[in-house]
């Protein structure tokens, strides 16, 4: 196949022009910016909701700005319409859960609210910031304002957020020292609620029900290996575990235990100490 040579050649002048315009007016900064917003390791949410002083108004302009950010960063997994049908979805996880969140469904795993409730804005903000170990990188590279814009756009994808007033889980007490007595009490709780049926006796995620669990979309859902806290999708700090246990993971196999612990919430902190004692990392 022949194409005329004058069409084939790339103009040196054009290249020079493109290089010059690309570089003009741009300063390559080597000074390094400190992270805006939340720190990497110590996030108090949702035990006490942070005021997030930099929170911006939720309005149409910020929703639209959030859409632009979504199309840069989130569309690959969550899809054009936010239904979790991005081109990466099945390569990320062919047959097993989790698949990317369907933002139109109104079902969210990572909440500080009661099971069946919508998440708080701060819940969404936290997930965007921290990511999900194994599956979603954290977006700390976005400014705090931009992360709020993403939150607002995501909320706009589901009518369930409109006028939602989610009820927060009840938080009683604070993390307690992991004494032998506390761990022992936690072990009793682990047995009482049959956590081993899914997570296994040693917490390896190999309980007798492990092979049968599926999420609401029919994907196989292996229970978490409790020996590997770094893989906990909802975080591994005591506050994170409290939230996971009490709120459950809607859409998945992990139920909410808030009703079971009604009046004995202190036991949750013992259970958390027991879970942490299983860590092999």
């Amino acid at each position: 196949m022949k194409i005329r040579k004058h069409v084939q050649r790339i103009s040196r002048t054009a290249l020079t022009f493109i290089l010059a315009t690309g570089m003009s007016g741009t300063v390559i900064t080597t000074a390094l910016a400190a992270e805006g917003g939340m720190g990497a390791d110590a996030i108090p949410l949702p035990i006490e909701l942070s005021p997030f002083k930099q929170r911006i108004p939720e309005n149409a302009a910020n929703v639209e700005a959030g859409r632009a950010l979504y199309e840069r960063s989130c569309i690959w997994c969550h899809g054009v319409n936010g239904e979790g049908k991005g081109p990466v979805a099945y390569f990320l996880s062919r047959d097993t859960a989790p698949h990317p969140r369907d933002f139109t469904s109104g079902i969210y795993k990572f909440r500080s609210t009661l099971s069946g409730e919508m998440p708080t804005d701060e819940d969404l903000f936290r997930t965007i910031t921290r990511g999900i170990p194994g599956f979603m990188p954290g977006f700390r590279g976005y400014s705090t304002e931009d992360r709020w814009r993403l939150v607002y756009y995501i909320k706009s994808l589901s009518p369930d957020f409109k006028d939602a007033e989610p009820e927060l889980i009840k938080v009683v007490g604070t993390p307690i020292p992991p004494t032998a007595a506390s761990v022992q009490r936690g072990y009793q709780v682990y047995q009482k609620f049959k956590c081993w049926e899914c997570h296994g006796g040693g917490g390896a995620g190999n309980g007798k029900k492990a092979g049968t669990l599926k999420d609401d979309w029919g994907f196989r859902l292996p229970p978490r290996d409790l020996r590997r806290p770094s893989s906990f999708k909802n975080g591994n700090a005591p506050a994170d575990l409290y939230r996971t246990i009490m709120a459950g993971l809607d859409g998945g196999a992990m139920p909410s235990y808030s009703d079971f612990f009604e009046g004995s919430e202190q036991e949750v902190w013992d259970l958390i100490n027991y879970i942490n004692s299983l860590a092999a990392e």
Partner: protein
């Protein structure tokens, strides 16, 4: 390091047994031991960026385009980094494990030839452990300042495909994805819809001698033939011959001969130069322009540069992504038509210009990954000063096609098939007084390859692959290419089992 040549007999049972043992071994490797640098840094699975390693999925492509920063962000100084210097600032650093990674490939190869080659007896089994080892240092030094350094050890010997990259990228100049400038030694086609690197069916290097002309080719490389030079009868000219005796074929330097099967130009594994890419008009449209140091131009003492332009359009759908790319690459005075009729090299009166054009497309849908490219090459008509060389026949056009389809059977198994075809150009017929009844020299080549790949862990791929030459045998006289079979025909088939792992 090649350990040994096991046996001259083909033994599929032994290969199968060994492959099974490797699978069993890797199945008990702790998962934490197999996470490459970027996955470690961002605490995600390899499959966030890969369809299956080493192929990038659309998210991984954008991560690469953005200078190893999360798409849409400029998080080069933030994500998973420590601030040194406290309030004084000054530097943020990754832990070394967040930017250092090692990739190791090892093969057991069984090639089958029509005729014995010059230096290799046919039908040997070779264990090549390791085949290729790459050590990467890649990441971000700051916001929008990225680096990539790759040191490679390749054991495939002379003529092996050597991938060694080292470059800086200044990202997001003039605004998000307006311009990203890459400077250094890089692979130009990294953003093409069918990139040169990252093949599920890894390249198998050639066994050839480039310090001779015509180049003896024991075994052609097994790689996407569309990337190949495709032109026969070309050299890098007198500058790579001994200056005192530029016509003596015994005094040639390594790399003198241009192998018709080596990847070149835009599709070269590595080039030195500057590239600019970006998406200033939204997320769908990508441009890339570049200038790179000429890879083949000779006969000129000054350094010359090749130029290229690539445009790409991306479309996203439900569970799918489609991209189409087109490029043009122009190389002035790129190669010297050369003949060796009787032990003396004869050069054309001038080096020829070389143009390359290509289009590529890729479609991913759920667990399918299908991609292909057509690449055309065109050189000027060679001119020789006098007979008999002036009576030689040259084909100035060539074309190559490579198409691959990969299918994810389940989370751990991938199968793939690739078809390669090369419509060769360059020297077609020697002058009548020299050719006798020889068939055309620039014989076409085509292969089909199939692969089954098993990932016991996301970053460990165990594979078995088979290449079949689709062309029938064409005899050529001895001394034209050093053997009694044309190199495009001599390799009948190859079966390979191996491992491609990163950690």
């Amino acid at each position: 390091m090649r350990i040994t040549r096991l046996t001259r007999r083909y033994c599929p049972t032994a290969l199968l047994a060994l492959f099974t043992m490797i699978i069993a071994w890797t199945s008990v490797i702790p998962e934490a031991g197999a996470v490459p640098a970027f996955a470690r840094k961002f605490n995600v699975s390899c499959n966030v960026c890969h369809t299956r390693p080493p192929r990038l999925n659309p998210f991984g492509q954008r991560f690469q385009e953005n200078g190893y920063q999360i798409p849409g962000t400029s998080d080069g100084s933030v994500s998973r980094k420590r601030l040194l210097g406290g309030e004084l600032g000054g530097a943020t650093l990754d832990a070394i494990s967040n930017y250092m990674a090692v990739r190791l490939r090892a093969d057991i190869q069984q090639a089958s030839f029509r005729d014995a080659t010059i230096t290799e007896a046919s039908d040997d089994i070779e264990i090549i452990l390791p085949n290729i080892v790459n050590i990467f240092f890649a990441g971000t030094a700051s916001d929008d300042l990225s680096f990539f350094f790759e040191a490679e050890y390749a054991s495939q010997g002379e003529g092996a495909v050597a991938f060694e990259r080292a470059f800086l990228v200044f990202d997001n100049l003039g605004g998000h994805q307006v311009a990203n400038i890459k400077v250094g030694r890089f692979d130009p086609a990294a953003m093409y819809s069918f990139p040169t690197h990252r093949q599920q069916i890894n390249p198998v290097g050639p066994k050839a001698e480039t310090a001779a002309f015509p180049p003896p080719i024991d075994r052609i490389p097994l790689l996407p033939l569309a990337f190949s030079a495709k032109m026969f009868g070309l050299s890098r000219g007198q500058r790579l011959a001994d200056s005192a005796a530029p016509t003596d074929p015994d005094l040639l330097s390594e790399g003198f001969a241009i192998l018709p099967f080596e990847p070149l130009f835009y599709n070269a594994p590595v080039s030195n130069g500057i590239s600019v890419h970006g998406r200033p008009f939204g997320t769908n449209f990508l441009y890339q322009v570049g200038i790179v140091q000429a890879q083949t131009a000779e006969n000129e003492s000054r350094t010359t540069f090749d130029r290229y332009l690539m445009l790409r359009y991306d479309w996203l759908g439900e569970y799918s992504d489609f991209s189409i790319s087109g490029f043009i690459y122009n190389a002035d005075k790129a190669a010297m038509p050369t003949l060796n009729p009787a032990g003396t090299l004869i050069y054309a009166t001038d080096a020829v210009d070389w143009q390359r054009y290509g289009i590529a497309a890729r479609w991913t849908s759920k667990w399918w990954d299908i991609y292909g490219t057509i690449i055309w090459d065109e050189i000027d008509q060679p001119v020789f000063a006098m007979a008999p060389a002036s009576l030689s026949t040259w084909d100035t056009d060539a074309m190559g096609i490579s198409i691959e389809a990969d299918y994810l059977l389940n989370a751990k198994w991938l199968i793939g098939v690739r078809y390669d075809s090369m419509d060769a150009g360059g020297l077609s017929l020697l002058p009548p007084a020299l050719q006798g009844s020889d068939p055309a020299i620039n014989q076409d080549a085509s292969f089909i390859a199939v692969i089954a790949k098993y990932y016991p862990r996301p970053s460990i791929g165990l594979y078995a692959r088979y290449h079949q030459n689709l062309e029938s045998s064409v005899k050529l006289p001895t001394n034209v290419f050093g053997g009694v079979e044309h190199p495009a025909r001599n390799l009948k088939s190859m079966i390979t089992v191996g491992v491609d792992m990163a950690f």
